[in-house]
């Protein structure tokens, strides 16, 4: 376990270095004058002009060689200082904190809703494979996976905000704002979770050790909790990990539709404005999140299923 954590920590450092440098290089090689882009972000399309772009260039020292600017970023990072946004001049740590907070909030609610509904449906469907509930679940799962998320979002707004008037259509800041975007994400997730839970439960119940446990006289509930749930849990947990990642980085459409100020929103703006340190910081944050979630998945899997397993595929 310690070895695993140490390896993950090393990976985190490596990833931070590589990812932030890669972002820097990629952004700097994009077409378009950096100073003009930043000025457009600051002053808006009515006021951006050569004079404001030159002002930005002088203020930020964009004429200096790129390696100097990269070194500065390194130095800042070493001091855990992410610097300030080139466009808004606000502290990147603050801006990133807000965006990350909003994203995590949305992802957590969506995951909770998706898990709850999905696992319930899946477990119920697994009870009688091939039964009516099982078939219905499969149908619902396929249907929900085939609808693009923005269509789903629009439908939810039309039903719950416009027609019924019980939930706010879009926006951020009130507790109820999270309901519809989370639901839009959760519907697709629930389908996935239902399917995995169902398959895994059916499969685990069919394995010899569960059969054996039954024959040796353990009562049904014990078999369920000790064997079925534990073994199904391993698969489901790794799924939750993957989905959490996808949710955090990949919900730009939902963020856009519902006006949710998450990481996707921040990234799109930062790329559009060429806000280099903001892009670097966001990318690093997401990369570290990938490492953290993978670690969490590894640790919880190990806790649930302590059998040693092959880690490296090659000797």
């Amino acid at each position: 376990m310690l070895r695993l954590l140490r390896r993950r920590a090393l990976q985190a450092v490596g990833v931070t270095l590589v990812v932030s440098t890669a972002c820097f290089v990629m952004i700097r090689t994009l077409p378009g004058d950096l100073a003009f882009r930043i000025a457009a972000g600051r002053y808006g399309y009515d006021q951006v002009d050569a004079a404001s772009a030159e002002g930005v260039r002088a203020e930020l020292g964009l004429d200096r060689p790129a390696w100097q600017q990269l070194l500065e970023w390194w130095a800042g990072l070493a001091r855990l200082d992410l610097g300030t946004s080139l466009v808004t001049r606000a502290s990147i740590a603050d801006e990133l904190g807000h965006a990350l907070g909003a994203s995590l909030h949305l992802a957590a609610v969506a995951l909770a809703m998706g898990c709850l509904v999905g696992v319930t449906l899946g477990a119920a469907a697994a009870h009688r494979p091939g039964g009516a509930l099982d078939k219905l679940t499969t149908l619902a799962v396929v249907g929900s996976r085939a609808l693009p998320p923005f269509i789903l979002g629009l439908l939810l707004i039309l039903v719950f905000a416009v027609h019924l008037g019980v939930l706010p259509a879009a926006g951020h800041g009130q507790a109820s704002n999270v309901a519809l975007p989370a639901a839009a994400l959760a519907i697709g997730l629930a389908g996935l979770f239902a399917r995995i839970t169902r398959d895994t439960v059916v499969q685990v119940r069919a394995t010899e050790y569960v059969q054996f446990a039954r024959t040796k006289g353990l009562n049904g509930r014990l078999v369920l909790t000790r064997h079925v749930l534990r073994n199904s849990g391993v698969t489901v947990v790794s799924y939750v990990g993957v989905q959490a990642l996808i949710l955090i980085e990949g919900v730009i459409v939902i963020e856009s539709l519902f006006g949710w100020p998450g990481l996707g929103h921040a990234l799109v703006h930062a790329v559009f404005w060429r806000d280099v340190p903001m892009i670097q910081a966001t990318a690093v944050a997401l990369a570290l999140l990938v490492v953290v979630i993978n670690t969490a998945v590894d640790v919880s899997t190990a806790a649930m299923d302590p059998r040693p397993r092959v880690k490296e595929v090659t000797p």
Partner: protein, 522 residues
């Protein structure tokens, strides 16, 4: 049998789900009550502009629009200048202007608005980028007793208009840090900031220090939602009380929705194409006239802006009453005339239907940006219209800065954008910059006209009313003949207002939302 406990567990899970669902419903009804309570007390304003900065020049005018901060000079519903923080102003002589301060004005931190504080704020604005004040011939901003005195290097009749620009808003001395950066917006308007949550929310509440009529609606929340369709849904569902920046398509739908009213005002904004006058093909006035004639403005305005009246017949919209000339020959769609003009300029149809001259294909690129959603759609329509007369136009949708950048390095062929001719309430200031002889990022490119320059400069120095009217007519005529920029459409701004709220007026200059004049209907 083993199934019984499983079934029991399944039941337990279902029960748990039901509990959670119930909790969710309870929360929902709570928020519903909450929303109802909120609509009684807090006005919900939703608009497209995000909150990215507290600085006057880069805060997208949000703090003047929310009436948190004031400028020396304000404007009324007709776009005319009226008293702001200054109760009156006059020119002592050609190059000295005097502004008398409203003596009762108090900043939200309780400090009185003094001439010293105003001068300090103006000086900071003057020293920063992005303010038209920097472009004005200002020599010195000083204090004389209770008055603010601005000394100029040369006569400049539009100074009061410049001091109505949002970048010249007057903030309390405690708003700035030692470097002159704004750390907090402390203004003197009817509303004071209670919270700012970038990039999405600003909360304001009626200021106890406001020296005018107290606003009927005391609490206001501004929320930025960038998608127009989402804003429309917020308006339709009654979530927002005032919804700004509505798109033409959503407006069509909302017209039939009960409980909301649509308010509109024509803006002094023109959607236009900037044309590179040094381009071998586009430098020819005949070609520019042909481009103009190729455009079906009526069709575009009807189908895309859903508002046939917005088809531009000249550069200045009727809302700029002083500048719009009724007797100008209107720009009209005539594809045959366009083809004739192009032939006259030496262009002949090539093998693939695209015009050719001296072996060169008529290929140009139009740059535009998605910040205003109608621009890419109009660009697509323009592309088809040009193809119809044999011009191969490719459309590049990128960042707004690509137009000034292309102006600077000479790579721009055509740029499509919306120009606000009343950035400063006097269009002459914007025109003087945009059509300066050397060209300008958002105006002429490789084109100048001595008569136009002379007319604009004379206006800047100050003319009497009759002379000024003549000069404006002359400017409009030259623009119509020479087409250094080709007008495409005018612009109407719309807001959707819930019937809970009464008293909405839209500002044609978009300087203020005048929320302090709203009342609850019931």
């Amino acid at each position: 049998m083993a199934s019984t406990p499983t079934l029991r567990t399944a039941r337990a899970i279902v029960a748990l789900t039901a509990v959670v669902a119930l909790t969710a419903c309870t929360t929902t009804s709570d928020t519903r009550d909450g929303t109802a309570a909120v609509t009684g007390g807090t006005l919900s304003v939703v608009g497209p502009v995000e909150v990215h900065s507290l600085e006057p020049a880069t805060s997208s005018e949000l703090f003047t629009r929310l009436q948190v901060s004031e400028t020396l000079v304000a404007t009324d519903a007709d776009g005319a200048l009226r008293a702001g923080l200054a109760t009156g102003w006059h020119a002592d002589d050609d190059t000295t202007w005097r502004f008398e301060l409203r003596p009762t004005a108090v900043f939200h931190d309780g400090e009185p608005v003094t001439a010293d504080a105003v001068v300090a704020a103006l000086q900071i604005a003057y020293d920063k980028e992005g303010s038209p004040l920097t472009g004005a011939p200002v020599a010195e901003i000083g204090v004389d007793g209770d008055d603010i005195v601005v000394r100029l290097d040369e006569p400049f009749a539009s100074l009061p208009a410049v001091l109505a620009h949002t970048s010249t808003q007057v903030l309390a001395p405690s708003s700035y840090d030692e470097d002159g950066a704004v750390t907090e917006v402390i203004g003197s308007g009817p509303y004071a900031i209670s919270a700012v949550h970038p990039p999405q929310r600003i909360e304001v509440t009626a200021s106890e220090h406001w020296d005018g009529t107290a606003p009927a609606i005391t609490d206001v929340t501004y929320q930025a939602v960038s998608r127009a369709e989402s804003r429309a849904l917020m308006a339709e569902s009654g979530q927002s009380d005032v919804t700004l920046g509505m798109d033409p398509v959503s407006l069509q739908r909302l017209q039939d929705v009960d409980g909301v009213q649509i308010h509109s005002v024509t803006l002094p904004r023109t959607i236009q194409m900037k044309v590179n006058g040094e381009h071998p093909a586009l430098g020819d006035p005949l070609v520019r006239q042909a481009l103009s004639a190729a455009l079906d403005r009526q069709g575009m305005a009807t189908a895309l802006l859903r508002d046939p009246e917005m088809a531009a017949t000249q550069l200045f919209p009727p809302s700029l009453a002083d500048w719009h000339q009724d007797d100008l020959t209107a720009l009209e769609h005539d594809a045959d005339e366009a083809r004739r003009l192009l032939a006259e300029a030496g262009w002949e149809e090539g093998p693939d239907g695209i015009l050719v001259r001296d072996g060169e294909r008529f290929e140009i690129t139009l740059r535009t940006f998605p910040d205003r959603p109608e621009l890419p759609i109009l660009a697509t329509a323009i592309q088809a219209a040009f193809a119809d007369v044999g011009i191969d136009l490719s459309v590049s949708i990128s960042n707004s800065s690509e137009i000034p950048a292309g102006h600077q390095d000479g790579t721009l062929d055509v740029g499509l954008y919306a120009r606000n001719y009343a950035l400063v309430p006097d269009p002459a200031v914007t025109l003087l910059g945009d059509f300066a002889p050397e060209g300008s990022d958002w105006g002429a490119m490789g084109w100048n006209d001595e008569d136009l320059t002379a007319a604009l400069e004379a206006m800047a120095e100050g003319l009497d009313d009759a002379q000024a009217a003549d000069a404006r007519a002359q400017v409009a005529q030259i623009m119509q003949d020479e087409l250094p920029v080709i007008p495409v459409a005018w612009y109407r701004q719309s807001a959707v207002v819930n019937e809970r709220v009464a008293g909405m007026t839209l500002d044609p200059l978009e300087r203020s939302w005048w929320l302090s004049e709203l009342t609850w209907s019931s």
